[in-house]
Amino acid sequence: MDAPAIRIVGLSKRYGGLLAVDNLDLEVSNGEVFGFLGLNGAGKTTTIRVLLDLIRPSAGKAFVLGEDCQSNGLRVRAQVGYLPGEIRFYGDMTGTETLDLLARLGRQSVAPHYRGQLLERMELSSADLRRRIREYSTGMKRKLGIVQAFQTDPALLILDEPTEGLDPLMQESFYQILYDAQRRGRTVFMSSHVLSEVERVCHRIGLIRKGTLALLSPVEEVRKLAARRVRVFFEREVDRIPARFPDGYEIVEIQPQCWTVRARGALGPLIDALAGLPVRDLEVEKPRLEDVLISYYREGTP
């Protein structure tokens, strides 16, 4: 497959006076786990719904595995597994009936062994599946939603807030399912608010803000943009603060025997600046994706 898993070109979607997505360009490679981030109303779900041809773009095009999502929607959707953000099944149907109906509506077959494996990982027993969905908790509905999205083992998985409502153990099981799918070469396009989750499972992230792509980068690169926090502990109280700190360093907190420094880039210049001071220890915190992304959410740059 030469075509990228997802290609979005100049996509815009307008709802009356509101521009939900504004000239979005994006490409997701095959086999990639892509995190699509943004605040509520940023345009994530609108973009996902265009990919599934549930809504029609005002301008631009979207392609999945080389097929136009609008003109070849059926071929696109035959290769996609979708987990909606707000999943609502018919309450009077059982879990099994729901999974069977949704499997039959697709053109791909469901391998009973694989479905069994998914159900086992999501801890949905036969007894659970015989119950009507109105008796399910939110978490159980989410688990059933995950199974229905994965059960045909599609080439592309589009997951909207996949772990919302799952307990930590189930989140762990979901990550395992995701790793397995990715190992088999499946592409995952997931939107999420949980930054630690994105940091853990995604290769690349795209951050959408007010309908435009504010950031598109590998997770590792984004982490590099983050400022590290370095805590400097002294043998005794230090009242002499260096007149000038090197560029990219900033003292954010001063205590008699401990300074907290925000550092960007290599730590060598900081160590030089501390020369001559009675330094006892240095504690360096790993940079967090959240620190960068939150600043992007707020003003568009870190």
């Binding site: 599934l52 041809d53 549930l54 809504i55 929607g73 959707r77 979708y82 909606p84 109906l101 509506l105």
Partner: protein
């Protein structure tokens, strides 16, 4: 096609209780009417009954009043009784608002994220309406015949089979007509309650317009707008043929409604 069949069978499973209940109720109503007609016939009370009815009502109904005051007339009342018409048109509204209900519930997202063309959602509704109309009208006819076989007194004049069939056909087409109108409304709505309310208000307005035109001459100029204008069971009971044009109007409204539903649903954002 296979997927659409599964979608249809899923819908049929969901509505089976409603359709069965409604169909058996109208069939039961036909049997009840035969029982009523039998008791009046036995008591030879049709003439007494006609004296009880006020003059203005007799004049309003014209010759159809005489036709109604008979065993045959009472048995046929079910085909144009307001409760029966209301229930069956209500059933159509319930069935035809399924697309809006599925959008509201989010089930459409799951269904149409599969390789299923949008038009199958409307085709499913059309098939469901055709099947349920056929079934409920058939059961109503069955109720009429069952009532006559079991309960009709000797010597009573039965309605002719052709009369029952044509009344059922006319009623069935009226149901399809409202099914089509509601499907068009439903295809444009996000909520079942909105689609159902709009369709119900349209039905009520059309019924009142037709009724008004019968008693108030100025309203006759716009009465053609009401589909109920093209449902004339009393004329048929009097022996007149149902005008073919009337049947075609009802079919055309149904077809136009579904055509609009296909177009709107194919173009809209879900």
């Amino acid at each position: 096609m296979r997927s659409a069949f599964f979608l249809l069978s899923h819908s049929m499973k969901r509505v089976r209780s409603l359709v069965l209940t409604m169909s058996f109720l109208v069939a039961g109503f036909q049997i009840l009417l035969t029982l009523v007609a039998k008791s009046i016939e036995k008591a030879n009370a049709f003439e007494e009954m006609s004296h009880v009815v006020p003059d203005f009502l007799r004049q309003l109904m014209g010759p159809s009043f005489v036709a109604l005051m008979s065993f045959r007339g009472i048995v046929c009342v079910g085909y144009f009784h307001i409760a029966v018409m209301g229930s069956l048109v209500g059933l159509m509204i319930a069935l035809a608002t399924e697309p809006a209900a599925e959008i509201e519930s989010g089930f459409t997202d799951l269904v149409l994220s599969r390789p299923l063309a949008r038009h199958w959602v409307i085709t499913r509704t059309l098939a469901l309406i055709l099947l349920c109309t056929g079934f409920s009208v058939f059961l109503m006819m069955l109720g009429t015949w069952a009532g006559l076989y079991w309960l009709a007194p000797k010597g009573a004049e039965w309605p002719a089979p052709g009369l029952i069939r044509s009344l059922a056909l006319n009623l069935g087409l009226l149901m399809l007509c409202w099914g089509g109108v509601t499907a068009a409304v439903s295809a444009a709505c996000r909520r079942r309650s909105v689609a159902g309310s709009v369709a119900s208000l349209l039905t009520l307005a059309a019924y009142l317009l037709d009724y008004l035109a019968r008693v108030w001459e100025p309203a006759q100029s716009v009465a053609w707008l009401s589909p109920f204008r093209y449902y004339s069971p009393l004329d048929r009971i009097l022996g007149a043929q149902i005008p073919g044009r009337h049947l075609w109007v009802l079919v055309s409204v149904a077809v136009a409604g579904f055509a609009l539903a296909y177009i709107v649903f194919a173009r809209r954002d879900l």
